[in-house]
Symmetry: C2
Subunit: 415 residues, 2 copies
């Protein structure tokens, strides 16, 4: 039996008491982030065994004790439910092109965008890709990420997509944190299929999906449903095809237009619809009738300098909000979750409690891991952040540009 | 004689060759950031002795060599020319109040704002203040800050202002980096003088200034020239009074209104006018007739969620731009200069070269240190950043939320 006892925790955050497990937090409830001051937490075999307050409740003694001396806070590790962590090569040239006023279309015409990453990825070998992604993964873990989703979508060929998904599988095998893989061949039409959409859809449906399912390489089916990318009808066909292989949808929707992406996601019982810069009443109504998680990616909006997602409108409609990084080499070359919290608070006007709920319990829900992680609850995995000395939870987004994480605990062990 | 030789530098950035020293970079020239690829740099007694390319020029051999293996870039250390680094206590409560929609006035009425910091500062002892500021200073040095300006202005009493300036003097004495002190008693009217402006001006002019001059505690005279704070006439009187004691002006201007702050600064030959969210043709014309440095503080605009400064308009008018952090517990609790570069590039649409010029040579000019630091030039202090492995200078603002600094060299020594 492995044990770890944390004592004199300044504040234990994101606590669930009793047997009724939350599956997610929505609407006005997002403002609430239950806490226990002056707490202890006992971990057994990687899971949360018990917790309480230092002054009132007895705790089990063990040899492995971390004394936080009343200065450190313990919160659930962050869940980053939308990333493109596996990629080959940075794209800072396009970043400069954008500053100089080049349009998305002009950058694409010069060989930029997703197709730029696809060319680099297809030229890279699997080992290089793995090591670069592994390094990125450990960098974001040092910033508090304790579970992550990673997408394919820079292959756009059978070999390229399989290569990416095998890299993700290798990360799953060699990293302590939970990782989910999404199959995103429908990220962009490759050059060879620019005028042959039917051909590319058939390639995805008839060649990629069977092999991916055969090797068990993906957990989710993703599509970039957007004008100029995949239409609502094409998205629908692809989600149906994925469903035949047991892949549930998590899709890119409504980033640049009122594309119908949210509605087609909801119709297909998507686990989440992600991006959501363009959200009106119809999209809100569709989401209200569903269990689909609205996932916002404001760090990408920050980096591109475009409009932010209407988080308040979504929360005020009684819906949940999840936040994720969108870590990718084009529109968001950062997986820094503490900074994402600052962007959510300062630009989307989410409160610190809402933002932290959005990257813990709601992040877990967006990966169907809400029974395992995302809150401090008995029986859940001990995937936790021990913070540096901070006076309150609000200090995390307030103290921007600094890393609040002192230690990351995964499965009850400091990593 | 102390020596240090850097070899196999991937790129040496911000280089000045020849004897004609730049004093600052303005207009279209800001896009140029001279570099040498595959370089070496020789440091003698803390100053840059010589530099060149690995393949063409001979370099002096010495025992202290750092081999950068063609992977690291060397750039001038960042100059942060506007901070309020000395303060007592964080103000994350006001940050949450703002998210919840409280106005600046309402927050002030509840005891927030500058007066909140003033109350905390006057209650703190000098030793506590020093140690907290020292820790902050070393945190921003780890993020590449190699010279800094620090203001008083949370005292607003004779004792409080002197206490702050003595803390800054102690930082100067105990820190390796150049530090300049600005006297900012005219930061806000304290409660006791809310209806007695004349009384507070007299306190500053007749009691504070003589003591500060006597102890040699300040390098600059600062005033928050803004509606509701100090009027143009009051600013003018204060700058005249400071000038009698040899304190040149560096002032807060045009943050919230077209206040006339820029013009009064220029009239008094201010070294810099800082903030500049509200800049029109009259302000541009005034600046064009001056040597006053326009200094922008976009990280504060980001944190407050207000409009950004019109950097392009200023640069396109042929003027220089300087960027600084505004590190302070209210409107910008971060002194992270790499992140400031990202905000400048993504929100103000400055190119990476413009942004780096703005925080190196122009930052140095805003502290009258352009003959000592801010570029790689023979005879200047070796205050340098050795970066982590990066493929280009653009990668620094692109790779946001990560620290590009591997080592900081101050006066030729790794700190």
């Amino acid at each position: 039996m492995q044990h770890l006892l944390l004592i004199n925790i300044r504040q234990l955050v994101g606590v669930e008491k009793g047997d009724n497990r939350m599956s997610r937090v929505a609407g006005a409830d997002m403002k609430h982030l239950p806490t226990i001051d002056n707490a202890w937490l006992f971990i057994e075999n990687g899971r949360i065994h018990s917790f309480g307050t230092m002054d009132e409740e007895h705790f089990i003694q063990c040899n492995d004790i971390i004394d936080l001396k009343g200065k450190k806070t313990v919160i659930p590790a962050f869940v980053d439910s939308h990333t493109h962590l596996v990629f080959a090569g940075s794209r800072e040239g396009e970043f400069v092109d954008r500053i100089n006023g080049l349009s998305y279309e002009e950058i694409a015409r010069r060989g930029g965008g997703i197709l730029n990453s696809a060319a680099k990825l297809n030229a890279a070998n699997e080992n290089e890709l793995y090591h670069a992604a592994h390094e990125r993964l450990h960098r974001v873990m040092a910033q508090g990420t304790g579970a992550i989703e990673i997408k394919s979508g820079y292959g756009l060929t059978v070999e390229g997509e399989l290569k990416m998904l095998r890299v993700i599988r290798r990360l799953k095998e060699n990293s302590p944190i939970p990782i989910k893989a999404s199959f995103l061949a429908a990220h962009a039409y490759p050059i060879d299929y620019k005028k042959n959409h039917e051909g590319y859809l058939n390639l995805i449906i008839n060649e990629m999906l069977p092999q991916i399912a055969d090797e068990g390489l993906a957990d989710y089916m993703d599509v970039f449903c957007e004008e100029g990318f995949f239409s609502v009808d094409e998205t629908s066909r692809l989600l149906d095809a994925g469903a035949k292989y047991g892949l549930k949808p998590k899709i890119h929707a409504n980033q640049l237009h009122y594309s119908g992406g949210v509605q087609v996601g909801v119709q297909h019982k998507a686990i989440s619809v992600d991006h959501l810069e363009c959200i009106g009443d119809a999209e809100i109504e569709a989401l209200k009738s569903s269990n689909t998680m609205p996932t916002l990616l404001p760090a990408a909006a920050f980096f591109l300098g475009i409009q932010y997602q209407p988080a308040r409108k979504i929360i005020d409609a009684g819906l949940p909000v999840c936040l994720a990084s969108d870590y990718n080499p084009g529109s968001c070359p950062s997986g820094n979750m503490p900074l994402l919290l600052t962007i959510a608070c300062t630009q989307l006007k989410m409160t610190p409690e809402e933002a932290i709920n959005a990257v813990t319990i709601n992040g877990a829900a967006a990966l169907e891991l809400e029974q395992e992680i995302g809150s401090i609850a008995i029986g859940k995995k001990a995937n936790l952040i021990i913070t540096k000395d901070i006076p309150s939870i609000s200090y995390i987004p307030y103290d921007f540009g600094n890393n609040p994480v002192e230690k990351l605990i995964i499965n009850g062990a400091v990593v």
